[in-house]
Every structure is written in C-alpha cells, then in structure tokens.
Symmetry: C2
Subunit: 204 residues, 2 copies
C-alpha cells in the first residue's frame, strides 16, 4: 500500500483534512527490540514538523543517559538557536525516581510513578506538547501504581491536537482498545540468545 | 531482563569486551509500523556515540523529504559546527532513482537498485561508516534486482566494526539467517483500517 492511501472508505463523517489532523494514541509493545527506538524515531519526525516534544522516561535511564536524550536535546538546542524544528523537553523519571536503582521502597516508587502521571495529565490539560513519548509507561500501569482507567479516560478526553506514544511490554487491553496505532515488536533473533552483551549505540 | 545482562553463557571464546564490540546485522520486518522509524532511532543513538551514519533510502522519499532526513541532517550540521555527535550522510535513492515515481522502465529501476547496492559494497569495503541504514532494502532483493546471496556474503565478510540495519517487509530467509537482531513489527491496530489518512509527523 502506498503512503497516504487508505484501503477502506471512512464512515466517520470527517473530511480528509480532519482525518489527517486526528491526534493519535500509539502503543509499541512486544518482546522484541525497537519499542522505544521507534518512539524516539517518531520524536525525530515530530521535531522536523516543529512540534513541541515531551519525553517521559519511566524506567530506563536511571543509571545512564541514553543516546536518544543527547541527540534530541541537541535538536532542541538547534531549535532554540536557529528556529528550525521544535522544542524537546526530556523528563527522566529515573533521576528523581529511584526504583530502577533499587533505592527506596516499593511505596516510594509507586508514589513517584503517580507523581509523573499527574504531571503528564496537567500537561495534556494545558496542551503543553504536540507529541508525548511515555517510555516504558506500561510497567507502572501493570504494577498497579498508575490506574489504567484513569489513563484511558485521560487519553480519550484529552483536548486539542496531542499525539501520545506509549511503550513497554504487556500493555493492558483497555489501553490497546483506545490505541489508534498499536505495533507489537516480536523477536525473531537476538544476540543475547547466544551470549552477546548489550553494547553502546545499539542498546542505549 | 535488565539491560546489559545476558541469559546464557556464551561459548564463542570471546571476551566481554569483544562481544560488546561485535558489529551487528539488524533486520526490521513485518506488516506493522515502526520498521524504518526504529532504524532511524538507532541512527539517533549512533550519532550520540559519534558514529559516522550512512543512510540509503531505497524506495521512500522519492516524492518528499521525510522528517528523519531533516532532523538527522540537522544533527550532521551540529556535528560539523560543534564536534558533538557524528557525521550523517543521507542518500536518497528516490531522487536519482525513479521507480517510485513511476518514471522509467523496470529495467531502469533494477539497474538503479544494483548501482545503489554497488555503492554500499564499496563503502563497506572502505569502512566508510559505523552504522548503515538500508531503508526498504528488502524490496529490491525480493524483486530480484539485487542478489540476496551477494548481500549475505558481503555482510558476512564485511571488515571492521560496521553495523548494518535493513528494513522492509518479507526479508529473505537467507538474510534473516545472518541477522544478529531481527524484529518483526506486527500490526495490532492501525487507523488506516478505519479510513484514517496518513498524516504529517506520524507517517513521514
């Protein structure tokens, strides 16, 4: 199917322009590689469109700064100095949020996750960004730290033109039911299976 | 599994350092979204590591410049002006290569594809880049324009430390057999199914 073509006729009463400007909920799940990588790739596209990008990392990057952060913040700097592209704001929950460093108790981690989600809700209400990347956000939902129904209701009632990309394994079926695009990354082969270690530039 | 951990013990006689620096062949296939997006996300990571990135777009972007091109070339400019990150070189086969614009005959397109692959072979021999993104390269292989065995032999015998990411549907089993990381993107839901049109920033 060529880009921009559509295999079925829409019966939603929207014009082509209205459909083209529908804000999307995108979910990247599965056991394979590429869930977060593809989400940050979407941020790359959004940047080129001049969108405001808000990244919220829920688990990764407590221990290190991933390459995407460096690169997307470099693009934010390009935007600020030349006006090209859009602003990028990076929120690394791991730096304030401690669960992946195994510090604190589970109660602390749950409170941190809820605090992060509360901030995202505020920003959605304020229409702070055009694209939100909620990286590994399925885990706090799975662990019961963030209420899935609240997430679903918030996503469905969000105002304006705001895309939300959520990554992580085992997304709740209620989340998938409101996803406009849901892709499962399935592992066909991975070097970890034969003892390959993670490496710079590929894994982070 | 935590990042950097490995579930089995390697029996390849390599040290951890040697395994960490193994150059990889990565294949992103499947019917779902995210094949190319995740490949360009890897380019983001590689840029942060200071790698030389070579992108070869085999089908897309004959008609338009995709957002990733704009953003990655902005990062190339950052590299050239500040030394941060690495150089990015973008080769849009669609601009010289005409098949996706429906100009020329199939013979022209096959010759163009072979010419592109010959250039990639030269660069691999010269170790021109650390990361190659061969976007939608499965199609010229599938269509018989580029010889799969030649691709496999070239990848397996490539010198030095060069990662190669290949995207596209229906990768040949011979290609998959030499992939170190192969992820299939499976569509769980997509707005095209209900008549949603492609839109700026999400599709390109």
């Amino acid at each position: 199917m060529a880009q921009g073509q559509t295999p079925v006729t829409a019966e939603d009463g929207l014009t082509t322009r209205q459909r083209r400007t529908s804000p999307l909920v995108v979910v990247h799940s599965g056991e394979g590689k590429g869930k977060s990588t593809a989400a940050f790739g979407l941020a790359l596209r959004g940047w080129s469109q001049g969108w405001s990008i808000g990244v919220f990392q829920f688990v990764k990057s407590a221990k290190w700064r991933i390459g995407e952060e460096t690169a997307l913040l470099a693009l934010d700097e390009v935007h600020r100095s030349t006006g090209q592209g859009g602003p990028v704001q990076w929120n690394k929950m791991g730096s304030g949020w401690s669960w992946s460093r195994k510090a604190g108790t589970e109660e602390d981690h749950a409170a941190d996750a809820r605090e992060g989600w509360a901030e995202i809700k505020r920003r959605l209400a304020e229409q702070a960004h055009t694209l939100y990347v909620l990286d590994e956000f399925t885990y706090p939902m799975k662990w019961g730290w963030v209420d899935v129904d609240d997430v679903v209701d918030t996503l469905q009632s969000r105002p304006g033109y705001q895309h939300v990309v959520i990554t992580g394994r085992n997304p709740d079926p209620r989340l998938l039911s409101v996803a406009d695009v849901a892709t499962e990354m399935t592992k066909l082969a991975h070097p970890f299976d034969r003892g390959q270690k993670g490496q710079k530039g590929i894994e982070w």
